[in-house]
Structures are given as structure tokens and as C-alpha cells.
Symmetry: C2
Subunit: 412 residues, 2 copies
């Protein structure tokens, strides 16, 4: 058995992946673009809404005609007409005139404000009293209030949210240029691993990792491609890796954590021209027996066999990698992934490696409590119980009860 000879820190692995390039772009319908990443800046070709728009139901008028108006001395205006929705005004307001206008309607020429219907009173057909003064532009959206022509509204690298779809619709962008989704080949290895449709014999287990990896890839915006279960022989591993390299951008091979199995994976990876080994072991616990290799812009991962370790390694490196491949501006930097909580137990750690602690969250008095879940990394059930992960820094010996920690919360 060969021991790990190229153990790297997380930082070193990130550096080796720093120049991974985003994939090419594609044009897709706006309606399918939620969660995709913009491949170019979106500059507005026009002002929005493009006209003076009322924000209330009321009377469009010249503000100066209402100056000094009050309950006891209302301004008296004649109603010149009614503004229809979506139509250009057919009239021009003269001094002392106003026009009935609905919310969203376009102000007629001669009007610079809208008096709310609540502060008006109809005296007789065509005559209205306004009981409060309005200022110019009161209750009005100006032509370029929402969007100014030539303004960059959304930047290349933006992960599209519902409101981003909204502004793209407003600008008439029916087809969006987004980065292609990364494809991830998922291969399970191990003589003891059987398909989930099979009843395992003693000593065998069903293929758990390919399903957690499938879910993790989908969450990360990548397209998972399942290539099945292969045995722990050099030839099987090599041909599965070859298939993975030809069909995907990232090859995820999850398998036995034994040194023998890892050595075979390393051999299989190294058998391809142009493959460069990045790490043979990472200083992360759980997750140490991880192999990282690279062939140009493609990467190959020999993930630990233990389900918890595999999930943590994915969380640390692959969310970041898929972010880079999909052109995300700040991969995995989103603040929404974290919440602060108070640790309710001491946790030991070893300096010189990053430790990831599974925690369960609960509500304490005015704060969130994080309770560590201890358990071997082979037990997927500990990840079911957990709500998230806490990272313990390489240079920290542990955390204390009462410490405030940042919890990276699991999401579906």
C-alpha cells in the first residue's frame, strides 16, 4: 500500500483551479432562464417606463393649479377628459384643467402631477375640487425612473432571479445569452457497491453516493450524467474515466476510501495524456482521501467513498468549481448560504487541517443554537439529522461552547 504523497490544503487546491474558464454561452428563452448565469452585460436600449406614469388613481393636473389648496379653500378644476390605459393622450391640458387618470396611466400633456382621488371631490359633471396641494412629479413615475437608456442593468456573471427575469422582460429581451450548464459525469466504483434495484448480499451496500452527487450537481446548476457502477480494476476505472472525459466537463468518481482503491484511481487518471495531478489527499476532515487531477479545463475527482466526506468535499470545492464553469461572478460567495448560531458544546479540532462539523439548528432564546452531531463519516444518517456545516479553520484547535459560528445551511 502506498500512502498519500501529495496532500494539499484547500487553499492550494483552489489556487490550482483559479484559472478554470467559464464554458461557452448559449441563447435560451427568457422563460427558461431562472438560475442560469448571464454571459454578457445587459444594457438598456430605452428608458423605462418611457413615459410619465401615474402611480395612483386620481386627477392628472398641473401642480401649480393646486398650490395653497386646502379643505376649506379647495382648488377648482374642470375635467377635460379621462385617460385610457395604454393609449396616448388625445388632449392637452390647459390652465385650470385636469384629467381622470387610473394607476399606470400616461399623463397627458400639460400635466406634471397627479392628485389622489381620496383628496378630491366631484362637484358636478366635469367639475372637481382638490383639497390638498400636490408638488410637481407627485404620484408620478418619470420616463427614465425605472431604467435609463444606455444603463447596464445586469452584469455578465449574474445568477438570474425572478426579478431579473422581470427587468429583462421589461427591456424586451426574449432570448437570453447565458453560460452553458456544466456537465458532470458520475461514476460509482467499488466491488461492494450494487445498484439500488438490487438486494445487497452480506458485505455489499447500495450505491448511495451517485444519488447524493446527482442532487448536489443539480443544486449547483450542473447537469449530472450517470455512468453507472464500475469495479475496482485499473481497466474498468480507466475506461469509465475516458467515457467521463469525453462526455463531460467534470468527472466525479466516487469510491472506496481504501488506499488500494485510491491508488488505482490515481493510476487510471494519470494514464491519460495531459493529465496533471493537483492533489492526492486534502487536509480536510472528513474528506482527506480525495484525488484531484486536471486535463486542460476539465477536472477529475476521486472522491472519498464515505457519503459524508463526499458531500463535504463537494460543498468545499465543487460548488466553487461549477460556479467558475458557469461564469458566476462570485462563485459560492452568496451570503444567503450562512446563518450565525451559538455553539452549545465544545468541539475539538486538529491544527493543520480544516475540520467540518455537522450541526443541527434549533431556536434558543433570541438566538439560533447549533448542536454538533458527532458520528463517523460513513454514516449518511448524520447528514439527514444535520441542518448544516461549520468550518473550523486550519489554525484553530477547536471551538468552545458559547462561540458564535457561521453555519452553512443545507438546502434542497
Amino acid at each position: 500500500m502506498q500512502t498519500f504523497f501529495k496532500v494539499k490544503t484547500a487553499q492550494e487546491v483552489f489556487e490550482s483551479l483559479g484559472d478554470i474558464e467559464p464554458l461557452g454561452s448559449e441563447s435560451i428563452p427568457l422563460r427558461s432562464s431562472l438560475g442560469r448565469v448571464l454571459a454578457r452585460d445587459i444594457e438598456s436600449g430605452e428608458d423605462l417606463p418611457g413615459f410619465h406614469r401615474s402611480t395612483v388613481d386620481g386627477y392628472a393636473l398641473a401642480a401649480r393649479d393646486t398650490y395653497g389648496a386646502s379643505e376649506s379653500l379647495p382648488a377648482l378644476l374642470t375635467v377635460a377628459g379621462e385617460v385610457g390605459m395604454g393609449t396616448m393622450h388625445q388632449f392637452v391640458l390647459k390652465r385650470g384643467q385636469c384629467a381622470l387618470i387610473p394607476t399606470g396611466g400616461m399623463l397627458p400633456e400639460g400635466a406634471d402631477a397627479v392628485a389622489m382621488v381620496e383628496y378630491s371631490q366631484t362637484l358636478e359633471e366635469g367639475l372637481v375640487e382638490v383639497t390638498r396641494p400636490v408638488s410637481p412629479l407627485e404620484n408620478v413615475i418619470q420616463p427614465d425612473d425605472d431604467v435609463k437608456k444606455g444603463q447596464v442593468m445586469l452584469k455578465r456573471g449574474t445568477l438570474l432571479r425572478p426579478q431579473d427575469l422581470g427587468i429583462l422582460a421589461g427591456l424586451g429581451v426574449a432570448q437570453v445569452e447565458v453560460f452553458a450548464r456544466a456537465r458532470a459525469a458520475i461514476i460509482s466504483t467499488g466491488e461492494e457497491v450494487v445498484d439500488i434495484s438490487q438486494k445487497p448480499r452480506l458485505g455489499q451496500i447500495r450505491d448511495i453516493n451517485s444519488f447524493t452527487l446527482h442532487g448536489l450537481c443539480e443544486k449547483a446548476g450542473a447537469e449530472p450524467i450517470y455512468l453507472g457502477i464500475v469495479g475496482d480494476t485499473f481497466q474498468d476505472l480507466k475506461s469509465a474515466t475516458e467515457k467521463g472525459l469525453s462526455q463531460s466537463d467534470v468527472v466525479l468518481l466516487s469510491g472506496g476510501s481504501s488506499v488500494g482503491a485510491k491508488d488505482l484511481t490515481l493510476e487510471a487518471f494519470s494514464s491519460f495524456d495531459g493529465v496533471e495531478l493537483i492533489a492526492h489527499g486534502v487536509s480536510i476532515s472528513p474528506g482527506k482521501p480525495t484525488i484531484v487531477a486536471r486535463k486542460g479545463n476539465k477536472t477529475l475527482w476521486g472522491l472519498p467513498g464515505h457519503p459524508v466526506s463526499t458531500m463535504i468535499i463537494f460543498d468545499v470545492f465543487l460548488t466553487f468549481l461549477f460556479g467558475k464553469l458557469s461564469g458566476l461572478g462570485e462563485p459560492a460567495q452568496g451570503m444567503d448560504y450562512y446563518i450565525e448560531a451559538e455553539l452549545d458544546r465544545n468541539v475539538e479540532s486538529v491544527t493543520g487541517r480544516e475540520d467540518y462539523i455537522r450541526v443541527k439548528l434549533s431556536h434558543g432564546e433570541g438566538r439560533v443554537i447549533a448542536t454538533p452531531i458527532f458520528g463517523k463519516s460513513g454514516l449518511i444518517s448524520t447528514m439527514i439529522e444535520a441542518d448544516g456545516l461549520v468550518r473550523i479553520d486550519m489554525n484553530t484547535e477547536g471551538l468552545y461552547r458559547g462561540d458564535t459560528v457561521r453555519v452553512k445551511v443545507f438546502r434542497s
Copy 2:
């Protein structure tokens, strides 16, 4: 013009929706189940892993054979064989014997622990020294450590995460029973609204809301069905609503905020047998001009025309509603949606209504800062700039600079 006559608080609306029933269930392949909600408890039919499993590379042995072992006085054992992965043991260990075992291998009969290879030394072929004592069960996962037979592993109402897919795979659940996805009919109304493929004339705007609603529905796990843009006439609104009711569980009609438009929506909704009006106006700002009606387990929503208001009303009510329809255990209670931040400006509010403030987040010294974004609810651009929302309670007059607030963070 008719004013709102049935303005309800958010609490009252929630109460009227309290007895909404989850939709029926369907059986889907495990690989497609991420983000879906379990329709029944998953009870384990077996122990996992089902056998004594080594967590390290080393020697399987009887712990008592190593008691008292040290560097200077190692325990001497004979190697009876090597455990293969995924195979049942072909040998039984006798006193003083051990077997080479890889990580994940099954312990042979007669062994109750594993000594790590790091603490052993091969003397000659078939003879090994162990230099540290091991305890019974050290480096071993017991047959029911991960899952006990008969244990409920996942409860009905669980939103499936990657690790949940993993445990279901481990249990051999290839098809999962989940609640059906809710279908949401999206209808845009308003004479001024044009399709995004069209160039708006003066006074017209492109259909923004149907795209933000599309994205919001997808995020909430619902299937959006777009029924197009209809005019603000009773007959158009009625037939669009009819189509929506026949094809979906939730009808989302977004349109003009004018009282006239709202009255027509109300008339259209009320024209169907069995429709009960829940609210004609809600005490939420922005978002007041909202109509909520119900026909059995189906609901009809007349959403405000302003994009910001529509998004906030969706966030408050529809995330909750889709959670109920999809059978989610605790709809919209997930702690992951919030982060705590310090407000950097005073914000006024009006008692008697809930106010929602758009905020931008940034990192201050050791804390997250929330900066309010002020702007009319007709401006979708304010939602692009914002990172999330802060709710101001009905009974609060405002918030102060320096207050700690909970920010509901937008996600894609």
C-alpha cells in the same frame, strides 16, 4: 369608483388558507426527486450497512488480542487471509489471528475491531505486529449504526435534499412517493400591457409580471402555466379565470392597480359558483390592492400591477400557499431564508399595516449591514438592486438606525 371594502390583515388571510389541503401524490424515480416533498413516511426495511464494516485500512482482529500492546511490546498475530470488498468472509479468525481488511470491508467472524495499518508492522509473510491496543468496535461501523430496521428515516412532508436522496438509495427506494407539484395559471391583464416581443407605443409597457411570477412559481416548486395577456374587460377576465381554474390549482391574475381594474377582477372572480371572497385589499405595503378568493381547494389571486408589490405579496402568501399544496411540513419556515443584519438608516412605518422594506446587504466590520432602498413599488429596478426584504410589524412605528433586523434574502 368603489373603494376597498374587505381589507384584511396578513394574519386573517393566512387563517382563511389554513385548511388548504395538499395535492395528491405520485410515484417518481428517485433521481428526479430533488426538491420534491415526500408524501409518506419512509421506514427502513433493514439495518444499514447490515454488517460490521471497517472504517480504515488495517487488520481485522479480536480486540482482546491487542490488550497491553505497545511499541516496545507489540502484539504478535498471524495473518489468516485478506478480506475482499463486497464478499462474505471465507474464513473464521481464531485466537491470535487477524485478516488484512480495506476501508469498507466486512469484518470476518471472530473479529470485533480493526487495527489501523499505521500502527502495525509486517514482520515476515503471514506475521504482523500491532503496536497499540484497540478496543472492541474500534474503527468499525456496526450493522445498524447508520439505519435501524423499522426506524422512520424521513417523514412525510420532508423537502428532499441531496443527502435524503442518498439515504433513500441506501434503503433501495428506487421510486419515491411525493406530492404532486401545484400548477399555477399566470394571466397578465391590462390594456397597456404588451407582449415582450412587441415594441411598446407611448403609454404601453411590456409584460413584466408574468416573468417574475414564472420565476417565483418555479422557485416555490410550482409549475407555471402561462395563459397570456388579456384586456381589462369583464368578459376577458372571466374567460381567462375560467381557463385558469380548469387547468390549475392557483390562478394568478396580475394587473392594473387601479380601483376600476380591481373591481372588474373582483366581479370576474365572483361570477363563478362557489367562489368565496377572502380579501379585497390587504394591510400590507406595498401590496395593498390585492384580491384573494377561494373556490374549494383552489385559490384566485388578483395581484397588484406594480412589480414590487406583486413580488412581495407572492413572498408573503404564495410561498406559504405552495408549501401547503405541496404538503411541506412547515411551509416557508426554513431558517435558511433569513440573515441578521444591522440597519444603517431610520425607516418610518405606519401602524396598522405590515411594511416591507427592500434592503441592500454589505459587509461591515464583523457584521452585515442592511441599507434600505427607497423607491416606488412600480420600479422593478429597486428589486434588482435589493438583496432582500425586511418586514416591519403591524404594531411598530418604524425601525431605527442600528437596529438588528432579519432580512429575508432573495434567491434565484
